[in-house]
Amino acid sequence: MNMVKNSSLIQMKGVTKEYIPRKWFFSKDQSRVVALNEVDLSIKKGEIFGLVGQSGSGKTTLGRLLVRLEEPTSGSISLKGSLINTLKGPSLKDFRSKVQMIFQDPYQSLNPHLSIAQTIGEPLVVQGIGNTRQRRSKVLHTLEIVGLSPGQDFYDRYPHQLSGGQRQRVAIARAIVLEPEFIVADEPTSMLDATIAIQLFTLLLQIRETFNMTILFITHNLAAANYLCDRIGVIHEGCIVEVNTAKKIIGDPVHPYTKKLIRVQPCFDFNRG
């Protein structure tokens, strides 16, 4: 039960993740990659939290830890107060239904042997939701929601028969089909043009409104983070270096890295009104 409104949904305490690359030559200490370094972070229920940072700074790693695709080297992560790395059996299955990830690269994350219908319908099947007909209409509806319309045109296709941005929208559809409580969206619109990206942002805002869904929005695009997020965290070399409201981060950045990030945002100006 949620006792306090605005209480934190997700909490990370002192989370470190190290990778030890398997090298054939004498492994020196420096070859160890510290992807996350003592990260403390808490995300409130119903919040859209933006995570921005340079390539390799640890954004995806953080997301994967939160949905328990990986275990931290040290530190703890909890969802609604209970530690996620001790979940087993039915409570793990329950966790999997409440927490979804939109993966960064839809070329890699979509199974090439599954049709679009199977891809999006799979979470429904795993969770035992609805009968065949109900699932079909749910999948078609979700396709329309992400702008793959008419849904029938895409239903029986396979990932390789879709463009990059269409695959990305299938990945989004798969993540929202269960109406989860928490979504890690790893660069969910990186391949989409402005018209479609903004429609999907509007969609995410609507879903948040309707289901009080919580979103971790990982991106390189500060303008998108600014548009969508309540708060933004800036991650640099595995450390969260600044967390603040979106307005503050953009208007009054503190950390030098944040300032640099704002300076290099692509701007677009051809003297238009």
Binding site: S55, D153, A197, A224, Q265, F268
Partner: protein
């Protein structure tokens, strides 16, 4: 003379639902040293054009009509043997999301070496080593990580390897399909600068595909805007982005988010996807077009010249005067 010239090209995919004309009657030319930017909606046919220029269309695709002139050949007529001599050497492509094309069980530097050796079998070990290091420096991957496996790289680092591989053989025409999509803005900035300067030094032809108008504008002087398989507007970047005429171009520009315009962006209502089964020559944008729905036009657009270099494909002459 144009390096490559594409005339009335149409490409279709055979699907259960019928023939999808993913590319409908497009024409454009590329000059050496004058990069052309292709922008447009997700699914509008950008990658399909790139794949056609590499001779890599999938089995269910067919060139329906048109020609592609490159070095006195019509590329639409080539067989696989002839393609093998051109592909990767004269025409190279940075594939969209190619980072998953990296071989997971092969060290990254070996894969770059392979890209070089395929087309330069006679290269000396010394030159090869030098070239590999050069390429890693160019895309700013620390040499200490050259011997890593792809899974040890972040998404951005993998994409940089892919760019290095496409540059390996100094091709004449490079098709860069969303080459910076996976990169953070800081690295994107560097890579775009790199692409610009390489382009000047090597004087290659470049087709730069992106969904991001700011990225395209930073590299390309000429712009083609695509919608639903058709080129709907073309001109210099100042013309197309400064005084857009086609209603789709206007929507695209109006919905572009930047750091200080969040209150001004236009959120288009979820529009109907373009119908790719339409007869060739019909306006694909008409279902979403205010001009057409108000005026009840024919739905058969024609090219409207706005300047010598700037034109738009539309059913209404009015678009010229309505520019903002």
């Amino acid at each position: 003379m144009a390096l490559i010239s594409i005339k009335n090209l149409s490409i279709g995919y055979q699907t259960k639902g019928g023939l999808l004309k993913a590319v409908d009657n497009i024409s454009f030319e590329i000059e050496q040293g004058r990069p052309l930017g292709l922008v447009g909606e997700s699914g509008c046919g950008k990658t399909t054009i790139g794949m056609t220029l590499m001779g890599l269309l999938p089995d269910n695709a067919r060139i329906l009509s048109g020609s592609i002139d490159f070095q006195n050949h019509d590329l639409t007529q080539l067989g696989e043997d002839q393609w093998r001599k051109i592909r990767g050497k004269d025409i190279a492509m940075i594939f969209q999301a190619a980072m998953n094309a990296l071989n997971p069980v092969m060290r990254v530097d070996e894969q770059v070496i392979e890209a070089i050796v395929t087309h330069k079998p006679g290269i000396s070990p010394g030159d090869l080593d030098k070239r590999v290091k050069e390429l890693f420096d160019l895309v700013e991957i620390p040499r200490i990580r050259m011997k890593d496996y792809p899974h040890e790289y972040s998404g951005g680092m993998k994409q940089r390897v892919i760019i290095a591989m496409a540059l390996a053989c100094n091709p004449q025409l490079i098709i860069a399909d969303e080459p910076t999509t996976a990169l953070d803005v800081i690295v994107q900035d560097q890579i775009l600068q790199e692409i610009r300067s390489l382009q000047m030094i090597m004087d290659t032809g470049l087709i730069f595909i992106s969904h991001d108008i700011a990225v395209v504008a930073s590299v390309c002087r000429d712009i083609c805007v695509m919608y639903g398989g058709q080129i709907v507007e073309m001109g210099t970047r100042e013309e197309v982005f400064g005084t857009p005429c086609h209603p789709y171009t206007k929507t695209l520009l109006g919905s572009y988010l930047s750091l200080n315009n969040e209150w001004k962006v236009i959120i288009p209502t979820m529009r109907k996807a373009p119908d790719l089964t339409l007869k060739s020559g019909c306006c694909r944008f008409a279902v979403n077009c205010k001009i057409c729905s108000n005026a009840g036009t024919s739905g058969i657009p024609s090219w409207i010249n706005i300047s010598k270099t700037h034109r738009a494909l539309c059913c209404s002459e009015g678009i010229i005067r309505k520019k903002k």
